[in-house]
């Protein structure tokens, strides 16, 4: 039971990461749109309760003369960071699924 429960939280974290990826992609696509303000996803403090995270305007970013506040270097960093976190999370999830499978097989298969 506890194994499946943790998997659920990891799944929610993955969906948070993919939501964030969508917002980062949107910021990069709108890097040259006048008046566009960079957005970010507010990180939930607790992934045990499933709630869609809110998309908010990224705070503290200076706007250019055309009113656009996308900083492409910040988005590149977030993109890399997000991919690494996603990869790490799927690795952990895989190893947990492996543990469950091993329990099903009564520890015979590795």
């Amino acid at each position: 039971m506890s194994l499946a429960g943790t998997g659920l939280e990891l799944g929610r974290f993955l969906s948070y990461l993919s939501q964030r990826q969508e917002v980062i992609a949107s910021n990069i696509a709108n890097a040259d749109t006048p008046g566009y303000k960079a957005r970010d996803v507010a990180e939930p403090s607790d992934f045990s309760t499933a709630l869609q995270a809110a998309v908010v305007e990224a705070p503290g970013l200076p706007s250019r003369n055309d009113g656009n506040s996308v900083n492409i270097d910040r988005e590149a960093r977030l993109l890399a960071e997000n991919t690494i976190r996603f990869n790490l999370t799927t690795q952990i999830l895989r190893s947990q699924l492996k543990d469950i499978r091993s329990a099903i097989d009564e520890g015979r298969a590795s």
Partner: protein
């Protein structure tokens, strides 16, 4: 599925940047064009970008209504620069006015090249975003193995 949405958003960015690059190359190619179907010299064109939500299902729209929408980008307008043409003194030219001046498009190749580089870099940024999403999707599929 929001990861596929991220790909669509980046694709909209690529599309917009490609249109922008096309217009810039059109401007460069027509830097010395004195005749157009509309009459007069060629006029510089520029793509105006605006953010736009993607076509989405009802459920997606509903969830985005409560959480805010990540938006793609579209070319909302192609602006034609109608500033005064550059006048050069070429009395023998067939398009010369009675004073011997020919109206040429007001195009600065240096600034067009800078815009072209900017469009190309932005395009690359969108491609990078797509390849990282592809990587994430591949990792998700690996969970089944």
């Amino acid at each position: 599925m929001s990861l596929f949405n991220a790909i669509s958003i980046s694709a909209s960015g690529m599309d917009a940047q490609r249109i922008r690059a096309e217009l810039i190359t059109e401007n460069l190619a027509n830097a010395d064009t004195t005749r157009t179907p509309e009459g007069g010299p060629y006029q510089r064109k520029d793509a105006i970008f605006s953010s736009a939500p993607l076509q989405a299902s009802f459920a997606q729209t509903l969830s985005e209504f409560s959480t805010g929408t990540p938006e793609g980008v579209t070319v909302s307008q192609i602006a034609v620069d109608d500033s005064e043409p550059e006048r050069r003194y070429l009395p023998g030219h067939p398009d010369a006015d009675p004073d011997g001046y020919v109206a040429f498009p007001k195009i600065d190749p240096a600034s067009e090249m800078v815009d072209l580089m900017s469009a190309s870099r932005s395009y690359q940024a969108n491609v990078a975003a797509i390849s990282s999403v592809k990587d994430m999707i591949a990792r998700s599929i690996d969970l089944f193995r």
